[in-house]
Amino acid sequence: MTTEAARSRFAEIVLPYLDDAYTLARWMTGSASDAEDVVQDASMRALRALETTAVERPRAWVLTITRNTALTWMAKNRPANVTSTEGVDGPLELPELTDPAPSAEQDLIARAEQGAVRAAIAALPQAFREAIVMREINGLSYREIADASGIPIGTVMSRLARARMMLMNSLGRPA
């Protein structure tokens, strides 16, 4: 049923971004085996879509499908882990910039161990974790994250800012 044209587009558009897709799914689901299931589902969805869809930005497109598949998959298989995004985007109350931070804090952040960084990101609320992974690891632009997540650019910016505040707070404290 799948046409040769779709398969060839799949090889060209999806396969180069499997690592990206797997990374996003891994951080969204928190589990390697769940991430494999999600990426396989997402691949099948992508293959079907490629019968008719023209793709301009493959990385963003693949990650959009991966994110949506992950949310659907978690709602179905891990309902206890799905957290509502309601409330996370309330009025942005970022702290006023404080006095110049002691450089010790900046040093602590810069020297944070890999393990600490991974743990801090894993501890972020789902919506923030997703945004920071798409930005910092998948390298998507604000516009691409907004499109992938179905939220306005302003919301992307405030989620990223909050995620970064949380990460700086947890990594900038002496252990």
Binding site: A11, Y17, D19, A35, E113, Q114, I121, I137, G139
Partner: protein, 283 residues
């Protein structure tokens, strides 16, 4: 495009947009001037840059496992890509599009050249700090870190090498040298399969006090036997060596002399295990 027509409480968003390369040229110039004039902004921007450095060094990027690629190939009828995407990608050489984009934009903005220079210096420091380590060691450190974070450094939990060895034998093409070092203070806690350079490889996990040691065994290939050499990769001690049979990479957060001692202990036990083959019954 992000507008600059915002109030002072949005400074953090603007700093972040600068960091992310999302400001246009005039916006970059504007923010650079403000940062130069305002120590509070400068300090916050320095913290944001430090965070980016920590994230980029955090081995957060995962590789799609070979098993997943195989499943997808089977399900779609599209053979797994054997070229670009199968090249093992490492976190510190990829996923830096933001930096690349920013540098391009900065170049377009003459007034922001100073910022570009700062950014490039930052990247260089980063690379220098990793000098001397190679992809294999970084991959081993990434796998070790993943295991710790997931709370599951082992796929098969067992202190019995006669359990661990056959389990690994069913998963990887290499026969694994598994030795019991409990009497030397290094308790076997299990094994897992890592994927390095697209090949599944066996990794043994030992514990020493509160520390975890990952020991990965690889096909020797054409490598010649070499004595253990130690270096530091992203805060972890890494010791690599090659014997007549295998190439080994040991990773731990233990103090370096203790990791050296572990390696020496393992090498002695592995050598005597091979001489004693078939192995004597364990006590």
């Amino acid at each position: 495009m992000i507008t600059r027509d915002v109030g002072p409480s949005d400074d953090l968003l603007l700093l972040q947009a600068l960091l992310d390369g999302e400001l246009d040229a005039s916006g970059v110039i504007d923010m650079e001037r403000r940062i130069a004039a305002d120590p509070r902004l400068a300090a916050e921007y320095a913290r944001l840059r430090a965070l980016r450095g920590a994230i980029q060094g955090g081995a957060l990027r995962e590789m799609a496992p070979a098993s997943l690629r195989a499943r997808i190939a089977a399900a779609t009828g599209v053979p797994a890509d054997s070229t670009s995407s199968n090249v093992v990608r490492f976190p510190d050489t990829t996923a830096r599009p933001a930096a690349a984009t920013s540098v391009r934009r900065w170049r377009a903005a003459a007034g922001a050249m100073a910022a570009a220079v700062v950014a490039l210096v930052g990247v260089n420091v980063y690379l220098v700090s990793d000098l001397g380590s190679n992809d294999l060691e970084r991959a081993a450190v990434a796998a070790h870190s993943r295991g710790l974070i997931s709370g599951q450094p082992v796929d098969v939990v067992s202190t019995d090498r006669h359990t661990v060895k056959p389990w690994l034998a069913g998963k990887v093409p290499l026969a694994t040298t598994v030795v019991d070092l409990a009497t030397d203070g290094y308790a076997l806690s299990g094994g897992r399969v890592d994927v390095i350079d697209e090949a599944p490889v066996p990794t043994l996990v030992y514990r020493h006090r509160e520390h975890v040691i990952s020991l990965t065994e690889l096909a020797k290939g054409s490598a010649r036997p070499s004595a253990p050499t130690r270096e530091t990769v992203s805060g972890h001690s890494v010791v690599t060596w090659t014997d007549n049979v295998r190439r080994y990479v040991a990773v731990s957060d233990m103090p370096p002399p203790e990791l050296d001692d572990f390696v020496a202990t393992f090498r002695r036990a592995a050598a005597s295990e091979r001489e004693d083959s078939p192995p004597k019954p364990v006590k």
